[in-house]
């Protein structure tokens, strides 16, 4: 699964930077040797799936059976996933986990990752969550009693 999620997120590695990509793959920092894409990816999938199910089966409101009703939930899902992706990685940044080992001194040195790259990762997570929300919508919409016409 780590390979799967990693390859999806790496569609955006030029956007959020190779340094952060390597860190998330678990190959850049001894403080974070595991593939972080698994956790973030599952969270993004889980949140998007939950939002789709909430829209089609919990809220399931007759007045939201249209493109704009669906768009509201897509937007909420995007914002949540942006915050989750951004804060997930930002926590590692503030915990000083984004460090490498200088082979000459054997001392820890900070990786070349800034807050702007982390913000870009949040945006990437948001874009992926939009795609996932759309896919889940077309899987689950058919059985909704009031909203199966959303988005169209």
């Amino acid at each position: 699964m780590g390979q799967f999620f990693g390859s999806i997120y790496c569609w955006f590695e030029d956007f959020f930077g190779l340094g952060l990509a390597d860190y998330l793959w678990g190959v850049a920092s001894p403080m974070s040797p595991n593939n972080s894409f698994i956790g973030i990816g599952f969270s993004m999938f889980g949140i998007s799936l939950a939002m789709v199910l909430v829209f089609y089966y919990v809220v399931n409101h007759p007045r939201l059976d249209n493109w704009w009703g669906w768009l509201i939930f897509l937007g909420i899902n995007a914002v949540i996933n942006f915050i989750v992706g951004w804060q997930w990685v930002l926590k590692d940044y503030y915990d000083n986990k984004m460090v490498g080992i200088d082979p000459s001194t054997n001392l820890q040195v900070p990786l070349n990752i800034g807050e702007s790259e982390i913000l870009c990762f949040g945006v990437s997570n948001m874009i992926l969550s939009i795609l996932v929300f759309i896919i889940f919508s077309f899987i689950f919409k058919w059985w909704s009693s009031n909203c199966s016409r959303a988005p169209f």
């Binding site: 409101h61 007759p62 007045r63 059976d65 249209n66 009693s145 009031n146 909203c147 199966s148 016409r149």
Partner: protein, 464 residues
């Protein structure tokens, strides 16, 4: 397939048939598969008659699109209204463009017969035109309507009659056409032998409702109808009915309806200006037909109806349980549907009504939906007329607008645990109902969806 032949005599007959049609549309259960209305009124242009014929035609047009297989749970428009005569009207021979004296061929009578005729009929009687009925003169009606059995339309009725079918006769006792037509028609049905199936018809179960005065007419010197004579005519006719109908067992069930609160209408002798507003008494008259179709009789039963109180306004709460149970669910369900498809029609015909998908996209531009919309308009008119009449029948609050459950007068909607309210709740229940519809064809499915949806809503929000 048992049938109920309903003879509506005179203006009152047409108006009771109007109420009956509304009840059948709403799904009030008649104990027969088909109702065959037959209007007897020489005044074929009177507006009460033409309005009822138009309504019956509309009902039939809607019903012709529906099939009621065992799977179809809907009761809306379930009972078939069968037309066996043009305009549902039994034409009486030789009444067109004739005065009464021409009809009886007064000019060619002997002097002695002319003198006898003069004793029985006034000059005004003799000169009155047959085209606008008998203008409150049962003595004229009893002569003219004696020709009923000789008409080809009566033969059509007789040919259509089968063993097990029933007959019901609606008439008023205080006018001309109904008061004279009822005993004559009953006598013909019970003892006549010159028509097809007369042996079956003679022994058929026959019921009737006789409506006692329930309105007055303004005094008019130029009119032959004087409502101050209604009571005296009623007394005479009741005495006649007692000895010639009830006591000799020629009828199985005789329903009587009367009210001592009466509204005064404009005095029209007939024609297109005779259009009285729908009235509680006609509504109750229609319930008598439903009751008759669902009952069995041993000997002659004389029936009257009581309501709980004598208030000026009658609602569902005024009825005793049997009557209330017969009417409440069907009429409330039908009114919720009529209101939704009248006041929220743009929403229900739009894409945002989920049930439309794959089911009703092309239904809203067709004749069926046009007919249904027109029927709902007539239904609302009917309810409004009864509400504004005296005594008032106030069943529904038709100005409930966006609050569809503030509908039934005297019934507070229940609170339920739901995230939806008002029309969102209606829509949600319809969207759920469409999944349980088993009927085929979009028209059947459309009404079944509304039937199942409103059935659940009434149970949840407006049950007794």
């Amino acid at each position: 397939m048992s049938k109920l032949f309903v003879f509506g005599i005179g203006g009152t007959g047409s108006r009771v048939l109007r109420s009956l049609t509304m009840m059948l549309a709403s799904g009030v259960k008649a104990g027969v598969d088909e109702v065959v209305p037959i209007i007897i009124d020489p005044d074929t242009s009177n507006a009460d008659l033409t309005r009822t014929v138009s309504l019956l035609n509309k009902y039939s047009a809607i019903r012709s699109n529906l099939q009621f297989s065992a799977d179809n749970e809907s009761l809306f428009f379930r009972t078939e209204i069968k037309q066996i005569l043009p305009n549902y009207t039994l034409l009486i021979n030789d009444t067109d463009d004739k005065s009464f004296q021409q009809f009886i061929d007064y000019a060619s009578m002997s002097k002695a017969n002319q003198s006898l005729t003069k004793m029985l009929f006034s000059d005004k009687n003799l000169q009155s035109s047959m085209e606008v009925g008998f203008k409150g003169n049962p003595n004229i009606g009893s002569v003219v309507l004696n020709q009923i059995a000789h008409s080809s339309d009566f033969e059509t009725f007789a040919n259509d009659f089968s063993d097990g079918d029933r007959i019901f006769i609606i008439s008023s006792i205080f006018g001309g056409t109904g008061a004279s037509g009822f005993p004559l028609l009953l006598k013909t049905l019970r003892t006549g032998s010159g028509f097809a199936n007369h042996d079956i018809i003679n022994r058929a179960i026959i019921g009737a409702i006789t409506i006692l005065p329930y309105f007055k007419l303004k005094q008019d010197e130029d009119s032959e109808i004087d409502s101050s004579t209604f009571i005296s005519k009623t007394k005479s006719a009741l005495a006649y009915y007692e000895s010639n109908i009830s006591k000799n067992g020629s009828i199985d069930a005789l329903y009587y309806l009367a009210d001592d609160v009466a509204k005064t209408y404009e005095n029209h002798e007939g024609g297109s200006s005779q259009q009285n507003d729908a009235h509680l008494i006609e509504f109750l008259g229609a319930t008598a037909i439903i009751d008759f179709s669902n009952s069995n009789y041993m000997g002659t039963s004389n029936m009257e109806l009581g309501i709980k109180d004598g208030a000026d306004t009658v609602s569902f709460n005024s009825f005793y349980n049997r009557m209330r149970n017969m009417l409440y669910n069907p009429m409330v369900q039908f009114t919720i549907m009529a209101n939704a498809l009248t006041h929220k029609v743009s929403m229900y015909r739009s894409n945002s009504f989920n049930a439309n998908k794959g089911n009703f996209e092309d239904l809203y531009n067709g004749m069926f939906f046009n007919d249904l919309t027109d029927f709902f308009r007539k239904y609302h008119e009917w309810l409004t007329e009864m509400r504004e009449n005296k005594r008032s029948l106030y069943l529904f609050n038709l100005s409930c607008g966006d609050k569809p459950f503030d509908l039934v007068e005297g019934v507070k909607p229940k609170r339920i645990l739901s995230k939806f309210s008002d029309y969102n709740l209606v829509t949600d229940r319809l969207n759920s109902a469409i999944r349980n519809c088993k009927s085929n064809g979009k028209e059947n499915k459309f009404l079944e969806m509304f039937y199942l949806g409103t059935q659940k809503l009434v149970k949840e929000k407006l049950s007794n």
